[in-house]
Symmetry: C2
Subunit: 279 residues, 2 copies
């Protein structure tokens, strides 16, 4: 499968809840379809460590598109395992990519650690905000500024978005020769959507022209390999630790307060290192 | 410091936002103070990977108590690094413990992965809910059921909490000889608080009587040591990987699609294992 990947342009759409991300994604899909490009969508729902199930209301709503030809939608619940989620997302993106999709949109709900991880799996990240979200957005701004290649102020008919646009634009810097644009939309009315897709296509050309896409891909692959390898190493080693007396003995000494946890942890690092040797 | 720990009874208070956790914690502190016990409080605020700063409104409000003698309050922002947060929380709990606090309350805001991690650092976990939170609580219930030793239906004057109590109680099981009670409170009015603290004291006795506290402590120490050791091993190894050509070469081959990511990751596991040997 993997040799057949690399053709799709992958877009992450993220931002706080309530900003209308799903509707915006719907409209972006429509716009790409008008331009005769095929679109795959991966919707990642937030899920506490507890639910497992997740809130898939958005998925149901997006089913309108999944009935269309050339739009493939898949939902994933996060299950609280962010590393695992990013890994599963990468593999699903590859399936959609190998299946010949021109564009793949990864929508994440909510904001936080997940977004950082998802931003590390796509070519372009769209951050969706709305006018005057206030302190919350102020707080998020700095971090979103780092991951966003394109900013969309949705619901910009509710209040004048000028102040929000100013606040966001003033916090952005040119990165790899690209100044992230700040666009306004009213997704429910379809207002501003062609400009968003124009910007995405412009960014796609920018990435490809400067060899930037491969440079970014190299960084992504590096962190993917490191994450996957350590995750596998962890699971293998924990299993083997369970068969041994060394961990039990360290735990017993810490419980008795003969040994402090930091010292015990550093001895365990030594044990882990030697287990690699015997592997 | 560590040899002086172990005297404090540690309580985690968790649950969805909007259930009045902070007010409940305030009242529990007051009740313990009436019983002439010293109380340390650690407030863990949710924080996206982005903000760093976090929303410390609750802390400010809780400062009323921090002016009191024998109540020590410390806030921590999570910074998106859950493993690091749990580690920092454990160490702060130990400082409060060694300082001679009788009771240490760890309050987490929001629900999710953080709660599971925090639940693994305390003796008792209180899950705060409110009547008819609806589907959201239904979804969370299963997972909360696993971590809760005591359930509090706060704001139980808004609507009749009978149905919520029934729903929750029916999902709970006897665990280590303890059936988690489901209590109702109106924290803003102080209603039901003595019963909550009575239950906590009863649970504390239950833990100590059956050797259960040490059994639980052993499990906590084990996961703490494993987490800390792997985290340290990871950071050491990633640093050393950066000095080597092997990772770069794997990445280059994956970028060229000569090698798929899963195969490359498993080769990297081999490299990591051998690095341990040379450590």
């Amino acid at each position: 499968l993997y040799p057949h990947t690399g053709g799709a342009f992958t877009i992450g759409v993220t931002g706080p809840t309530g900003t209308g991300k799903s509707t915006l994604v719907d409209k972006i899909i429509e716009e790409y379809r008008k331009r005769e490009l095929s679109v795959g969508v991966l919707a990642i729902d937030p899920s506490s460590a507890f639910t497992g199930g997740a809130l898939l209301g958005d998925r149901v709503r997006m089913m309108d598109h999944s009935l269309e030809k050339k739009v493939y939608i898949r939902s994933m619940a996060s299950r609280g395992d962010l590393g695992g989620l990013a890994r599963a997302a990468r593999n699903t993106i590859r399936v959609l990519d190998a299946a010949g999709m021109d564009v793949i949109i990864v929508e994440t709900v909510g904001a936080g650690q997940t977004e950082v991880q998802i931003a590390s799996t796509v070519d372009a990240t769209v951050v969706v905000l709305m006018p005057q979200l206030g302190d919350e957005v102020q707080a998020f701004k700095a971090g979103f500024a780092e991951i966003g290649d394109l900013f969309v102020i949705n619901k910009s008919d509710i209040v004048n978005p000028a102040k929000t646009i100013y606040n966001i634009a003033s916090g952005l810097q040119v990165k790899d020769g690209w100044r992230p644009p700040v666009l306004k939309t009213v997704a429910v009315k379809g207002t501003g959507i062609p400009a968003v897709v124009d910007s995405l296509e412009k960014f796609q050309k920018h990435l490809e022209a400067g060899g930037l896409r491969e440079k970014r891909l190299r960084k992504r692959i590096e962190s993917e390999l490191v994450d996957a390898a350590f995750s596998d190493f962890y699971h293998q080693t924990v299993r083997r630790l369970g068969d041994q007396k060394e961990l039990d003995s360290l735990v017993a000494r810490v419980v008795k307060r003969e040994l402090d946890p930091e010292t015990a942890a550093s001895r365990l690092v030594g044990i882990i290192s030697k287990m690699g040797e015997r592997a």
